[in-house]
Symmetry: C2
Subunit: 389 residues, 2 copies
């Protein structure tokens, strides 16, 4: 059954409010005349819709001087304090919580480091709620402006019912985290996959701001990707789309944490690079591989060369499947070792399938770890912002 979208008057009204708000978000500050051009709507309609957004308190007028003639021009901007959301990022080592305004700016943030015993769902959720409360209090924001909480974590997430279906790093299965936080704090909560939310943040507030089809790839403890089309997360039917770490590369390859052989991420993830290195020399940290490679040790160079090759494989395979205009490269492996990026970019010039060369830009995450908070807070804002007047 194809999905039918209701297109009655109410739908149209809500949609127009959202569309004009998105234009203001994207181009702020912006004049009504420019909105008319971008939206391709009549000045009357734009003025009416802008009026509604001002009534809602989401948009305000700002005065500015136009270039040259010195005539005052009234521009429109978001009322940044009108909508506040909380972004929460969880992995096995840390809980990050931030208060984020309507412009995607982090106003205040704090974190808790986790011990292995803290990652049991009950304990972790309790700690997260405590931290959220502290952050709201310490940020000195008007807590009545908080419209929702977004939670980002690694794993397979049912974003609709707030359930973590499965998270390998946390060793969680079927945990209804959104519901648990909601009933503890009485604030509406939504949860989603960390890579998808990172991509959302970069697409709306980071290097993907001018892109209509942004893919993001994350190289770290795992390998994942996500696609954002015109500001919307590409989810597939069960919110699993983009799990490139588990595409099969070698059916007879080494075992992946998922229990299958030769998944793409087995060629790249830090743990596997360290394990390989230990066949030659006892090391505990990936930094040591980079050091050995810098000193010209063949085995270390070989390990990193293969990792670079498979990072290029990852990029090629994403662009073959998604054909995006932008691919944002992120994750601990590339953030900690920028030298690896140069090699990836250089190798991609000839490695990518010819018809796709020149169809996309490779960019590097601008927001870095900030996207872990901005992503979920943006999802909360997009989900819970109501246009009811």
């Amino acid at each position: 059954m194809k999905k039918i979208k209701k297109r009655d008057q109410e739908y149209i009204k809500q949609n127009n409010l959202k569309m004009i708000l998105d234009i203001i978000k994207d181009k702020r500050p912006i004049s009504r005349a420019e909105i008319v051009k971008i939206a391709n709507m009549s000045p009357t309609s734009v003025s009416r819709i802008v009026g509604s957004l001002m009534d809602l308190g989401l948009v305000k007028e700002t005065e500015t001087y136009s270039n040259g003639v010195g005539r005052k021009a009234i521009l429109l901007d978001l009322d940044l304090e009108s909508v506040i959301t909380i972004g929460v990022y969880i992995n096995k080592h840390i809980i990050n919580v931030g208060v984020v305004n309507f412009g995607g700016e982090i106003l205040y943030k704090d974190k808790i480091d986790l011990n292995p015993k803290d990652i049991y769902p009950d304990i972790l959720i309790k700690k997260a709620c405590g931290l959220i409360n502290d952050v709201i209090k310490n940020s000195k924001i008007d807590s009545s402006k908080v419209i929702g909480i977004g939670v980002s974590l690694p794993g397979i997430i049912n974003s609709k019912n707030g359930e973590v279906i499965f998270s390998a790093p946390l060793n969680w299965k079927n945990i209804h985290i959104a519901q648990a936080i909601e009933s503890e704090l009485n604030i509406r909560t939504i949860v989603d996959n960390d890579v998808k939310l990172k991509a959302l943040a970069e697409s709306l507030y980071g290097v993907g701001k001018n892109s209509g089809k942004t893919a993001l790839v994350n190289f770290g403890k795992g390998v994942g990707s996500a696609l954002i089309i015109n500001g919307e997360i590409f989810r597939g039917v069960t919110n699993i789309a983009g799990e490139i770490g588990h595409i099969t590369i070698d059916p007879n390859g080494i075992l992946c944490e998922c229990g299958r052989r030769g998944c793409l991420q087995t060629f790249i993830v830090e743990d596997n690079l360290i394990e390989e290195a230990n066949k030659v020399k006892k090391i505990v940290d990936i930094e040591e591989i980079f050091e050995e490679a810098r000193m010209g040790e063949d085995w270390a160079v070989s390990i990193l060369e293969r990792a670079v090759t498979y990072m290029c494989v990852t990029i090629n395979n994403i662009v073959c499947m998604y054909n995006p205009d932008t691919i944002v490269v992120s994750g601990s492996l590339v953030e900690a070792y920028p030298e690896i990026l140069k090699e990836v970019e250089e190798k991609c010039k000839t490695f990518i399938w010819a018809p796709l060369r020149g169809t996309f830009k490779i960019l590097y995450s601008e927001l870095k770890s900030q996207s872990d908070i901005i992503g979920p807070s943006t999802l909360a804002s997009n989900t819970f912002l109501s246009f009811d007047i």
Copy 2:
């Protein structure tokens, strides 16, 4: 820059006409009351829009008897003869042309076999135009009802300007085929990639009819895939999305026709299976490999087992990236040897990444080669049908 869709009165009107028409197409024959339910619109709006569609001659009332009480109920159906499009399928061996009605039914078709010398663009396009003219004449349809021609061929296509950017099987580069046919026949023409159009046909008229996110994979002379989301082709920025045949599997693998090493399709395509077989025994046709395998020849069994494994790799990798509800398997390799399908299906049960098992159905192309004509004709219908009253 995110894409902004104009949402003024005219947009809404056109959109509503299209939406109700799509519902009628999908569920025909259907009552107004049922449309009201599906569209979630008021009875008044539905009646008004249906009226417009009837004024346009696209929809007509049919009388039927409802179950049980014998009361006559008026149902709505497409006027199947109101819109006629021509579907053209081209590969290096054949031109297929069919006349297709508004319900996606082929009314008449014919074909020309091609010699290697026929595939020069000028010659081939001339032959195609001749065949299109013959088919229109011989079908005895009212030629004034023909609103457009759709052309399907293998390769990288710019569907917007009607250009074949590159087609390896035809050895074409930068051929403006749509324009050439338009100026020859004076009928509006659109061209697109064959796998994308096959997927469109299966999604709208074949086994994907009840699916909202249909992926199709084609195993034949090459390997390709396509995704249809709610009846729309997922294209990416340059219409290349879905080219899974050229995702890299083995950076040190054998050379692909694209000039790169270890593309996924090198493990599956018929030519490569035949080449491998020739290391053991002189054969010219893939049928011989199947015969040898049926007789228990180890080398032939081994070749096919590996092909099956990489067909499962293909399916796993598509569902990791697209997370569809349905995957339609098609192409000459599976159509000619249904036994290979059973093995693929069996192996997929354990081969697919666990979180994706049970999230999609594997179905087999229902339309088979008919989709080669229905796909492009449907694209022509979707593109050229005008709702101007």
